[in-house]
């Protein structure tokens, strides 16, 4: 609980963290911070982490490869020597995905099913996947790599009976203490947690959803990289995201 006498500083801390404090208030607050106030410093850091998410309202845009080349040239120039050979240019994410997603779909599904065979009763997962594939009402949503995992891909299948299954591939195992959380997002409500995907060392994994009713309808399907046990709301970067075709 914050101390009452500190409340007025924290009120300024919000606006300071946003970068909008100015005038006398800014000078006063900077003077206060100079006293090494640990409460305000922690509060500003936490607020910045929250505000930090505002930029995620923007669609990540891949810059021209020339920018990276220029940056690396500068670095090599500063070091006086080229440390490694130039990185091969990467093709644009969408071109790469368009070219490979069709060929990868069957493999992704089988790989995802195989993954689940290892962790869930075989007949249950197998039957569920087969039922989904057979069901004419089954809908199919492509998932595209984003943020730190542009090469990842996946699919989300669900039917009118309320069953669903997520398949992913090329999704690297998460760092220690992190997990991949699955969400459905609708403009009219807060993001809804669906479950967790644990890819294997080959980057393949899946998640079976016994009832999609509590997480649908949706506008967007997303997988984010989160601290372990984060299920209240997404806060980490998106690693897979849907784009309605």
């Amino acid at each position: 609980m914050m101390s009452t006498e500190h409340a007025h500083w924290l009120e300024r801390g919000d606006i300071y963290a946003l970068g909008a404090l100015d005038g006398v208030e800014l000078k006063d607050f900077q003077a206060h911070l100079a006293t090494e106030c640990s409460i305000c410093k922690a509060y500003i850091q936490e607020t910045r982490e929250t505000l930090n998410l505002l930029h995620r309202s923007l669609r990540p845009t891949t810059p021209s490869p020339e920018v990276k080349e220029r940056v690396l040239e500068h670095i090599d120039g500063e070091n006086g020597v080229s440390l490694t050979v130039a990185q091969p240019k990467k093709s644009r994410r969408w071109q790469r995905i368009t070219g490979t997603i069709a060929a990868g779909i069957v493999g992704v599904m089988l790989a995802g099913a195989y993954y689940h065979f290892r962790y869930e009763p075989r007949h249950t997962v197998y039957s569920a996947v087969v039922n989904l594939l057979r069901d004419p009402s089954t809908r199919d949503l492509q998932l595209y790599g984003a943020g730190p995992t542009p090469a990842a891909k996946g699919r989300f299948l669900w039917n009118d009976s309320g069953e669903g299954h997520v398949f992913v591939t090329n999704l690297p195992p998460p760092p220690e203490g992190k997990m991949y959380a699955v969400w459905t997002i609708a403009q009219s409500s807060a993001p809804r947690y669906v479950g967790t995907i644990k890819p294997d060392v080959k980057g393949q994994g899946g998640l079976h959803i016994n009832s999609t009713r509590s997480v649908l309808p949706m506008d967007t399907f997303a997988v984010t990289l989160e601290n372990e046990d984060t299920t209240a709301a997404p806060a980490g970067p998106m690693v897979l995201v849907s784009k309605q075709s």
């Binding site: 909008a20 404090l21 100015d22 920018v67 943020g147």
Partner: protein
């Protein structure tokens, strides 16, 4: 074929601090799209955004040693650098513009549509936009003017012709609401 495990960004920065070029390259690949989209949104011109992106990542290379995980995530650190530099540029541009001629209301050019292609626009309205969409318009407006346009509380009050106290109240209410939505309640 096994895929490369995702390296923790803190580890990447530590390697960058040791002048590891491959780690820097990975860090750039991972974060340049979000930094570039922010730079584009704030500066609106592709050439300015590319210049800024270059400056930011050079700063990362040179100052990775000063990063401390205790002071926030690498992403927060990077975005903080990006916003600070972008705001400096914006203020410099505004000073230059004021010295020549008064421009049209910049609010008219503030839509992200100016820098985002329409294709995949729905894709851009993701996690945070769900939160933003749930903010009252007045709160969302002041947060966007401060965060993306680098305006101070007084400048926003002047822009919106609202009392300064009202702007501050909306900012705080908006931040508190975001904090609540994201499950990061204040201590």
């Amino acid at each position: 074929m096994p895929v490369e495990p995702l390296v923790d960004p803190v580890t990447l920065i530590q390697r960058i601090a040791a002048q590891n070029r491959d780690a820097f390259s990975q860090f750039y690949d991972r974060y340049s799209p979000i930094v570039y989209s922010l730079a584009l949104r704030m500066l609106r011109a592709q050439s300015d955004a590319e210049d800024l992106l270059q400056e930011i990542f050079l700063q990362v290379w040179r100052q990775a040693t000063v990063y401390s995980a205790e002071r926030g995530s690498p992403e927060a650190w990077l975005i903080n650098i990006a916003r600070s530099r972008a705001i400096d540029k914006l203020r410099s541009i505004r000073r230059r513009e004021r010295s020549f001629v008064l421009t049209d209301d910049p609010a008219a050019a503030e839509s992200p549509d100016n820098v985002e292609t329409s294709a995949g626009e729905s894709e851009s309205k993701l996690v945070m936009n769900s939160a933003l969409a749930n903010l009252p318009e007045a709160q969302r407006r002041v947060l966007e003017l401060a965060y993306f346009d680098g305006l101070s509380q007084s400048e926003i009050a002047a822009r919106l012709a609202e009392p300064l106290g009202t702007v501050k109240t909306r900012m705080r209410a908006g931040i508190q609401r975001l904090r609540g939505m994201l499950g990061t309640q204040a201590a």
